[in-house]
């Protein structure tokens, strides 16, 4: 049997199609990615790169515990196990993120039994969309020697640095003009020191990165001291950030690195060291 289409049939068909379309127009949502304008992650992997503080700050409610070690000169040879038998300068530190752009902490190192109080604040954050092209942060700290037999004011040193950094894909660069003041110094030593910290890091992959730093003293320097130079391998173990490095200085705080680094890296006077950083998220669920 042959069915002849009529205008009525065609109209009815169109009507039904329109009716169907009207109902299916309310189908599921179209999936769209969210473009976030947020701070670039991991400009540096740890708040401190070997010995110089970085723009990296802690998130709110995060606690960073750090252990920093440096040993004797590698050139001391096998008799001193390449410097490891010469005694370590160790700094134990805790820092807490009071906000996403402000942290404060305390640490203590073996040499001169220095306890340092520090605070870091991010003023600008490089953003993923490029709306802010770089990071800018300020770090201030005060060091207090806990050696016995000193006047309180003689124990104190002050430090401030302005850190500016940018991440270019896998490469991060930072410049840190810095100033240190020591209340008490030996003869011929400087109360005030200016320096320029230069830090670079390159991500090899998600787990490994190379980094280096250089800290020339720009003001009149203390006799017998040299600019810091260091190179490191950074390892992200999934919970810890390890930095295994060779450095010319056995000191941990920038102020003391500028004042007391007595070795030149390029003369072969460098030592082994390692830093361990572990960040705990303390936000309650």
């Amino acid at each position: 049997m042959k069915i002849k289409p009529t205008y009525f049939t065609i109209f009815t068909l169109i009507t039904l199609i329109l009716f169907f379309l009207a109902d299916t127009a309310k189908a599921q949502l179209q999936r769209e990615r969210v473009e976030l304008d947020e701070p670039v992650a991991d400009i540096f992997w740890a708040p401190t790169n070997i010995g110089i503080s970085t723009v990296r700050n802690l998130s709110k409610y995060s606690l960073n515990s750090s252990v920093l070690h440096t040993f004797g000169l590698v050139r001391r040879g096998p008799d001193q196990f390449f410097g490891l038998d010469d005694g370590a300068n160790t700094r134990l530190g805790l820092e807490y993120g009071f906000g996403d752009t402000f942290s404060a902490g305390i640490g203590r190192m073996t040499f001169r039994k220095i306890v340092d109080l520090r605070a870091k604040s991010n003023i600008l954050r490089q953003t993923t969309t490029g709306s802010t092209p770089l990071d800018l942060a300020v770090k201030a700290s005060a060091g207090i020697s806990t050696l016995s037999g000193m006047e309180f004011s003689d124990r104190i040193s002050y430090f401030i640095s302005v850190m500016t950094a940018r991440k270019f894909n896998k490469l991060s660069l930072q410049l840190s003009p810095m100033f240190a003041h020591f209340n008490l110094v030996s003869a011929n030593q400087q109360h005030r020191l200016f320096g320029l910290g230069i830090v670079a890091a390159y991500e090899l992959n998600d787990r490994f990165a190379l980094s280096a730093e250089y800290l020339p003293v720009l003001s009149k320097r203390n006799p017998g001291t040299y600019d810091l130079m260091a190179i490191a391998l950074n390892i992200d173990s999934g919970g810890h950030i390890f930095q295994i490095f060779f450095t010319s200085s056995q000191w941990h705080n920038e102020a003391f690195i500028m004042a007391h680094n007595e070795h030149r890296f390029l003369d072969g006077n460098f030592r082994f060291g390692f830093n361990v950083n572990r960040i705990f998220g303390l936000r309650r669920n």
Binding site: F8, R33, D206
Partner: protein, 191 residues
């Protein structure tokens, strides 16, 4: 002749009449979602305020999705590990599409328990899921709260681990959103 007039009339009614005159849908693109995983002695939660969802009572559609790259745990290195585990570049969305399987009185302002059955998708794997939660009419908008547990191994997600411990297979999902009512003439703005 009567047949033609009837057909034309039917066509005009279809085109110009509102097929669901009172049809209002509920929509949000700023809902809250969290995914909580645990390792021995510790839990960590990825949170996002970018949950997008639609409830359409007319066709009984409940549709939600989340761009997983918006989840934040508070530690960016851990965020990166989480994205790697979820393979967010390849599978950017967690999705749920289903329908209400229990009654809900849209006129009442009481918080009401509801059940939704549908497909939950994450890591590119889709499984049927029944989710229980609450819905409440808040001044014409809908407040939704729901939570459920998924076994991530059912979605081909390899629980990450370090040395002697690894992330547990169960992951808790919790969502909370206020979906604003969108009248018919503004629904074309919904993506």
């Amino acid at each position: 002749m009567v047949r033609y007039l009837s057909a034309i009339l039917l066509l005009f009614i279809t085109i110009y009449s509102d097929p669901s005159e009172e049809n209002v849908v509920y929509f949000t693109d700023s809902g809250y979602a969290e995914f909580t995983s645990s390792v021995p002695l510790h839990t960590f939660t990825g949170r996002s305020d970018h949950l997008t969802g639609l409830i359409d009572p007319e066709v009984n559609l409940v549709d939600f999705y989340l761009d997983l790259s918006t989840l934040r745990t508070g530690i960016d290195r851990r965020d990166r590990d989480m994205f790697r585990t979820l393979e967010v570049d390849d599978y950017p969305f967690a999705e749920f599409t289903g329908s209400l399987t229990s009654s809900f009185d849209f006129q009442s302002s009481d918080k009401q328990s509801v059940a939704v059955t549908g497909d939950f998708t994450i890591h590119g794997i889709t499984r049927e899921k029944k989710v229980e939660g609450t819905l409440q009419n808040e001044g014409g908008n809908l407040k939704l709260e729901a939570e459920w547990i998924i076994d991530i191994t059912n979605y081909d997600i390899e629980p990450p681990g370090i040395l002697f411990y690894r992330v547990r297979d169960e992951m808790e999902v919790r969502i909370e959103a206020v979906l604003e009512s969108v009248p018919e003439d503004e629904q074309s703005d919904i993506p």
